[in-house]
Structure formats: structure tokens, C-alpha cells
Amino acid sequence: MTDTAIRAAAPKAESNSLLRHARYVVSENPVTGLAFGLFTLIALCALIGPYIVPHDPLASDTAATLQAPSWKHWFGTDQLGRDIFSRVVVATRLDLIIALSSVALVFAMGGFAGIAAGFFGGWTDRIVGRISDTIMAFPLFVLAMGIVAALGNTVTNIVLATAIINFPLYVRVARAEANVRRDAGFVQAARLSGNGDFRILLMHILPNIMPIMMVQISLTMGYAILNAAGLSFIGLGVRPPTPEWGIMVAEGAGNIISGEWWIALFPGAALMLAVFCFNLLGDGLRDLVDPQRRT
């Protein structure tokens, strides 16, 4: 066997074993397969939802207000006669964008701060640790409320607030993972070949802890969606008439006691399914990446 043959065979075997492992995880826990299915559905709604819905999500129809679910309006209509099914589907994109951008933001901030803290130790570690301790000293949703109230009632600030309250979680994971690798063989080798600290951090440590960070992202996605919906439920961030799950539940809240359950139920159920899906995906991904922490 020649050198090239061995080199070609090695990655193939590796990807094969990963696939097999993935298949094992999915077959061992069929719920993960279900979560992937749900995820595809949610992603589809976010991508093409606005083009396929049967009604305009903003068009009100005074002749058809507060109608129960029927063939014409699958999820019924609200106080203004707007079609709830269309609104729920269209809202997917906004909710996902808020959650995704806040998670991306905290991944950048918390991930980098955590890696730096774990890698350099000393003062960097102490300052980063103090910042996350201070954030953790607040009940997290309350802090998010305070941040949005102070910085201004916009969607951007909801994203920022959600990112900030997740900061300590990312720092903790990234710090622990970077810390165990700071003196690893490959880091010493990189240093000996003349790489600077930042280069080592970005090119050698970061790719190594990526899988664990991806799990963290998927686990916090659900929480980010819940948090953003909670904030818009109390009237922060998204303004009516924009369709968004949290605000739609708030709009239907008053009708619950008079029996019009469909206005709040469908957006609430969509919210619940999305969060459920991301939580299950996170667990599945963790089983895939880090079999030791399997529950």
C-alpha cells in the first residue's frame, strides 16, 4: 500500500464511523429523528413561509372576526379578522432570526472571552469571571427586561439582551474547554513553530472546541426563543401588528376567558414546538459529540 492510499483511506474511515455513530444515536433515540424532522419543518416555514401562506398576515377582515378554526381559516381568525395560520407561519422567520442572531452574538462574545480566559488565565480570567458572575447575580429574565427598558424598546435590543444573559453559559463552557487544552501537545508544537498567542487561539484552540460550542448553541437556541417571546409578551421589542409568536399569545390572552382559545393557542403551540425541537436537537447533538455526558 502506498502513502497516498493510506492518506486517502484515513478520512474516509473517519467519516464512516461518524456516520455510523450518528445513525446509532438516531436509532437509539428515535426522538432525535423526530427533532430533525421538526427542525426541517420550522426551517421551511422560515424560508418559504411568507410565499405560501393562504392569506395576507396583516390583512384584516371586519366581516370575519373571531372565527373558530374552519376549512377557510385553519387556525381561525383574531379580533381584526386576520388569518392566524398565516400569521403563525410568517412569524417563524422573525422568531428564528431573533434567536439565531442573539445566539451568534453571544457565541462571538462569550466564546471568545471564555477561550481567552481559559487560555491566558490570570487577569483576563479574573475580569471575564467577574463580568459573568455579575450577570449571574441577576435573575436572567429580569436583567433582560432591564436592559431592553434602558437601551430602548427595539428588536435589536432584544437580541442584545438575550445575548448578554446567555454570556456566562458560553464563557463557562469555552473557558473549561480551552483550559484543558492550553498545554496540549498540539498547542506546544504550534508555539514551537513560532505561532503567536492569538494565532494559536484562533487557528488551533477554537477549531478544537467548535463541536462542544455547537452543542451549546443548539441547547441555548430554545432558551433564546423563549426569552425573546417572553419579552414581546410583556410588550417589549416587537410591535404590533408584526406577527410574532409572543405578541400573538399576548393578543389572544384577553380572549381566553371568553372562550376564544385559538388566538393564543396556535402561536403558543408553535413556540412550544420550536423550543422543544431545539432542546431535543441539543441533547441529540451532545450525544453525538460528547458521548460521556449522555443522559
Binding site: R130, P139, F141, I147, L226, L236, V249, G259, V275
Partner: protein
């Protein structure tokens, strides 16, 4: 034990300083000119300048911070813009409502989650174990305001078992004379059973909502720690010595398994205090959360700031109590301290 407590108390100080700094920075981050903001929309230029010097906003940031801290130390949280009332008084009056709701929610959640977690661990792999896992995952996925509305729909509209979700006590009853501020306790103290029933039926649904929301971490932790303890040597010894299951599980395993559960209570309180705001809005509960939400809607910042600060201080104190409690029930921690 005393040295442990004092050491833990010292750790509270940097946390409190951080909390105060953050709430201070949040007030100064208000969009636009804070002086114009506090002077109100109809204020003239002179009025704004007057407010600026009255609030000390023309001084350097560090001096402003000094004023802020002295005001807080005197218990002055500022005045609400919409009502003109001092925020501190309002928060003090409303705090018992929130506290009663939160503690009742925690009580419900512990009394369901702990037995569920224990049973799931003892009968690992059985249907009850699966129930526990489903409940734990569903509990964290359910938006708390959504659970609340579902419960209202089922128990108020469909079944008619519970009263309308409007506040702490039915309008036909007058609240019991104030002793602790907890309606349940106050009505018992004044021997008013009718009042107790009325207050309890109002409290049940919001309490249940909070309970369902905070079930998951407690049940999950109880199960995990119970499994670890059941696999340990001293449980094996106890079983080998012929003790019956009940004694082994309750006296030996349960008491040791509770230690990690007590530590997760800190996280549970963070959940509860946040979810409290949403539950109060759904059930029109007159606590500090709904006070803050009302203020948020009318862009009245002083109550929001007072609310965030109160919640943070409460949370720091609760964490302190949990840590001390941990030292009380686990002698090993005491020895290290």
C-alpha cells in the same frame, strides 16, 4: 459554622457592588437626554436644566454614582413618573404578593418533582422514569405565559372550577388584616377560613403555572443524584445488612441525594423570579412584576430600575441562604469552612 457564614457573607459584597454598578449604568444608558426624559415631554429648556442640576447630571459620572449609592442606602429608589409616588413604597407594598406566589410555586414544584425524581431513579427504565423525562423536557419547553393561559382556559372557562384570573382575592372579599402580607397566612391568623379559601383558589392556578415551569430542573437533578447515591457503597452495605427498601431509600439514600438538589435551587430561583413577571401579567397579580410591566409600557424607568434592583438583591440573598442551608445539612461543608 460561623466562620463559614461570615466567609460566604464576604462573597456577597462584590456581587452586590456589581449589581449596583449595572443598574446605575442602565439608568445612564437611557436613550436620549436623561434630564429631558425625567423632566417630562412638556418641559421647557430651563426646566430641563433645572432637572439636570437637581439630579446631578451635570457632574462627573463618578460623583453621580456616589449620589446614586447614597440614595439607595437611604432606601430612595426615585419617584414614578406616571403616579408621582415613591417607587420604594410601592415595591414594599407589592412585594408580599410576589413573594407569596413565588414561594407557593416553589412549594408545588418541589412536592411534585422530588417524589417523581426519586421514583424515576428507584424504578429506572420503568414508565415512571419515562414520564419523568417527558415532564422534564416539556417543562423547560413550555412558555410559562402559555401554560398559564391554558390552565385558565381549562379550569376557568371550560370547567368553571377556579375563579376569574384577576388578582389575589375575589372582589367580594376584603383582604385579611395585614400581618405578614401573605394572604394565606394572614387569613388563618385572623381565623377567617372563608377568606383563606378565597385567597387559596386565586393562588392555585398561578402557583401551579410557576410550579410546572420549575419542575424540570428539580426532577432531573433529583433523579440523577438519587441514581448516583443508590449506586454507592453505603447503600449497598445498608441493603446487605438486610434493611428494608423503605429505610434504605428514605433514610439513607434520600437524605444524601438531597444535597445536590439544594444547590440547584439557586438556578430554580433565577427561573422562578423571571417567570414570576410573566405569570403576574397573565393572572393580573398585583405584585412587583406587574408593577414593572405597567411602568415599562408607559416608558416609566424608575419603577423598572427599582424592580430590577430589588429582584437582584433578593436573588443574591436567596443564594446566600441556600449556601448556608447547604452548610447546615451537610456536615462536610461545615468542616471545610
Amino acid at each position: 459554622m460561623l466562620s463559614l457564614i461570615s466567609k460566604r457573607l464576604l462573597l456577597v459584597i462584590p456581587n452586590l457592588i456589581g449589581v449596583v454598578i449595572i443598574t446605575f449604568l442602565l439608568t445612564r444608558a437611557l436613550p436620549g437626554d436623561p434630564a429631558a426624559y425625567f423632566a417630562g415631554p412638556a418641559a421647557t429648556k430651563e426646566a430641563i436644566e433645572q432637572v439636570r442640576s437637581k439630579l446631578g447630571l451635570d457632574k462627573p459620572l463618578i460623583v453621580q454614582f456616589g449620589h446614586y449609592v447614597t440614595d439607595l442606602a437611604r432606601g430612595d429608589f426615585g419617584n414614578s413618573l406616571t403616579t408621582g409616588q415613591p417607587v420604594a413604597t410601592e415595591i414594599r407594598n407589592r412585594l408580599p404578593a410576589s413573594a407569596e406566589l413565588t414561594l407557593f410555586g416553589l412549594f408545588i414544584s418541589i412536592s411534585i418533582a422530588v417524589p417523581l425524581g426519586i421514583l424515576a431513579a428507584v424504578k429506572q427504565g420503568s414508565w415512571i422514569d419515562h414520564t419523568c423525562r417527558v415532564v422534564a423536557t416539556a417543562g423547560v419547553s413550555l412558555p410559562v405565559f402559555f401554560t398559564g393561559l391554558l390552565l385558565v382556559y381549562v379550569f376557568y372557562f371550560l370547567l368553571g372550577w377556579s375563579p376569574a384570573p384577576l388578582g389575589r382575592i375575589d372582589v367580594f372579599y376584603s383582604p385579611p388584616p395585614q400581618v405578614t402580607g401573605f394572604y394565606l397566612i394572614d387569613s388563618v391568623l385572623s381565623g377567617n377560613l372563608e377568606g383563606f379559601r378565597a385567597a387559596f383558589s386565586q393562588l392555585l392556578l398561578p402557583g401551579l403555572t410557576l410550579g410546572i415551569f420549575s419542575l424540570a430542573p428539580i426532577a432531573r437533578m433529583t433523579r440523577a443524584s438519587m441514581l448516583a447515591v443508590l449506586a454507592s457503597d453505603f447503600v449497598r452495605t445498608a441493603r446487605a445488612s438486610g434493611l428494608d427498601d423503605r429505610t434504605v431509600i428514605i433514610t439513607y439514600a434520600f437524605r444524601n441525594a438531597m444535597l445536590p438538589v439544594v444547590t440547584t435551587l439557586g438556578m430554580v430561583f433565577s427561573f422562578l423570579l423571571g417567570a414570576n413577571v410573566l405569570v403576574e401579567k397573565v393572572f393580573a397579580w398585583p405584585g412587583i412584576g406587574s408593577y414593572a410591566v405597567e411602568a415599562l409600557i408607559s416608558s416609566d424607568f424608575a419603577p423598572v430600575q427599582g424592580f430590577v434592583l430589588t429582584m437582584a438583591v433578593l436573588y443574591v440573598v436567596l443564594n446566600l441562604i441556600i449556601d448556608i442551608l447547604y452548610g447546615v445539612i451537610d456536615p462536610r461543608v461545615r468542616l471545610e469552612g
